[in-house]
């Protein structure tokens, strides 16, 4: 069950998106995330949707896989939607039951917020689906290199990130195993209120942490044994070179941002209350 979480995982496939330079993907993702906050009108959402759908198509990552990645944020999504729905008092009242009031403005913000959140997650997880953590960290390292002049440990941070990503599935598997082991010993993880349930998680978290530290120790030793000594004097197996398609991608993404901005602002589209 817990292993179903796909967010942040690489999905191996051969697509244009997989072949792009990670720097391009990082910068484009950032631009895409910003672009989602540049418009308020339904026309902007249309452009963003078309862009997102074509990217998903290009990535060759199955839609079901992407949707699975949304599971962990369902809770967050619900909370956001409910708060926006009931607490925004703006415009005409649509429904009024007991103490709950839904206004036009509330419904609008709730729907838009939900779409924005979903697009944010899909957009950023598409990057991790199509980029191996190593590429990702290489890209980050290259992009942030100027910061190392200011003594920011860029290489180290990048390395830590890639290792964290590598260990996500292993630790999830371990959590699963520990949960089963504790259930077999009579641990009750399902019943009780929130606080009780949180307390019941302790017998899972303690062994998980212990084993994580042990793994970290082993890994550090294995890395040292393979001559790891920081970023100095290190060569790359897959050095980054911009190619034609990378420049084209930059242009396309910038065009998209401009389009979303212009269309979202100056060509508003109104359907009912949206």
């Amino acid at each position: 069950m817990i292993r179903d979480i796909t967010i942040g995982q690489y999905y191996p496939a051969k697509s244009l998106l997989h072949r792009l330079d990670p720097r391009v993907k990082l910068v484009s993702t950032l631009l895409y995330l910003i672009s989602l906050f540049l418009f308020k009108s339904i026309s902007g959402y249309l452009v963003a949707t078309i862009f997102l759908v074509s990217i998903i198509r290009l990535s060759k990552v199955p839609l079901s896989y992407i949707v699975k990645g949304l599971k962990p944020i369902v809770m967050l999504l619900m909370i956001t939607v409910l708060f926006n729905l009931f607490l925004t008092r703006e415009g005409e009242v649509l429904v009024h039951v007991w103490i709950f009031t839904v206004t036009e403005g509330g419904l609008r913000t709730a729907v838009f917020m939900a779409i924005r959140l979903i697009y944010l997650i899909i957009g950023s997880s598409l990057m991790t689906f199509t980029t191996t953590p190593n590429e990702l960290t290489d890209g980050l390292e290259e992009l942030l290199k100027p910061l190392s002049k200011l003594r920011v440990p860029v290489h180290e941070v990048a390395m830590m990130m890639s290792i964290a990503l590598r260990f996500i599935p292993i630790l999830l598997e371990e959590t699963d195993k520990i949960m089963k082991a504790q259930i077999a010993r009579g641990a009750d993880l399902e019943s009780g209120n929130m606080i009780q349930r949180a307390r019941n998680m302790i017998p899972i978290l303690v062994p998980l942490f212990v084993s994580a530290f042990r793994r970290a120790n082993d890994l550090a030793m294995a890395m040292e044994a393979r001559c790891y000594h920081g970023g100095e004097g290190r060569t790359k197996m897959k050095p980054l070179h911009y190619r034609g398609r990378d420049y084209v991608t930059y242009v396309v993404v910038i065009c998209y941002v401009v389009a979303v901005f212009v269309i979202g602002r100056y060509l508003p589209l109104h359907v009912w209350i949206f």
Partner: protein, 283 residues
């Protein structure tokens, strides 16, 4: 020249109580002398807590001796300037395959070592391909290590070491966490590496079946080397081996028992076929 030589190796670690005060010193290794010539297959046997893993970590300069000296290809592991050359000469494979794979794709993991050594990019690719081929994992180069079996993961880990082109590979209980088929996979890979690449192999283990082919065996107990010799010499002393809590192969035990009951069977039977032959010759 010996590829690995230790002279009166001693390693002590401090025992601490809960507040971190030193309450005593414990000797994990106590005066070990070992020499390994290039191309040899040397096995170190020992029960849990015999100090064999601690010993292995000295060969790669992960641990530095408290007393005595370790030379790897003539380089003293104590010398900080020789750290990287030592680690490149004696590559190390650990017990848990999950905790030693750094990359998220098989080929990236194999490339990790050469990257650290500063090998030029084209050469890294060549080495990665060659070492994956050497362990028979080339077709898995684009796979995620998480989806591989234990034996396959361990072979990837071996490839990661082979890619650094070491003269010597030290394996610290590489089969302890594997199922029997995974164990066979790893042993077959090691045999192939020995034959094709002529690397020195030092295998730390407590499975005696794995060391039948060894050129030399050291048996460790409580930080000492208690037995030393060829497999035949070692395996002929069944009672002593049992005293050191080692699992003697069934054939050897059977042969030993038969001999005690008065049958004329030679000492140190290692393989089923040998026992069959010896029994047939009785009539």
């Amino acid at each position: 020249m010996d590829i690995i030589k230790t002279e009166h190796l001693v390693y002590e670690y401090e025992k601490r109580d809960e507040e971190g005060n030193v309450i005593g010193v414990s000797r994990a290794i106590d005066g070990v002398d070992v020499d390994v010539t290039p191309g040899q297959f040397v096995a170190v046997l020992g029960h849990n807590g015999s100090g064999k893993s601690t010993f292995a970590k000295h060969l790669n300069a992960i641990l530095v001796p408290t007393e005595g000296t370790v030379w790897v290809d003539g380089k003293n592991t104590r010398d900080p300037g020789e750290l990287l050359p030592v680690r490149q000469t004696a590559g190390m494979v650990f017990q848990n395959p999950d905790n030693q794979i750094i990359g998220t794709v098989v080929e990236e993991d194999v490339g990790f070592g050469p990257e650290n050594l500063g090998v030029p990019t084209e050469d890294i690719w060549k080495r990665v391909e060659e070492s994956l081929k050497a362990v028979g994992m080339l077709e898995y180069r684009h796979h995620s290590p998480n989806k591989l079996s234990g034996g396959q993961k361990q072979r990837v880990a071996i490839a990661g070491v082979v890619a650094m082109e070491p003269k010597c590979i030290v394996l610290d209980e590489p089969t302890a966490m594997l199922d029997p088929s995974g164990r066979k996979e790893v042993l077959r890979t090691l045999k192939k590496l020995r034959e094709k690449k002529k690397v020195t192999v030092i295998l730390i283990t407590h499975y005696m079946e794995e060391v039948i082919d060894a050129d030399k065996i050291y048996v460790m107990d409580h930080g000492h080397v208690v037995m030393e010799g060829t497999p035949r010499e070692i395996f002929s002393q069944v009672d002593t081996l049992k005293k050191y809590r080692l699992d003697v192969p069934q054939v050897t035990i059977l042969a030993d028992e038969l001999k005690k009951r008065g049958l004329e069977i030679p000492d140190g039977i290692l393989r089923k076929e040998e026992l069959v032959e010896a029994l047939c010759r009785l009539n």
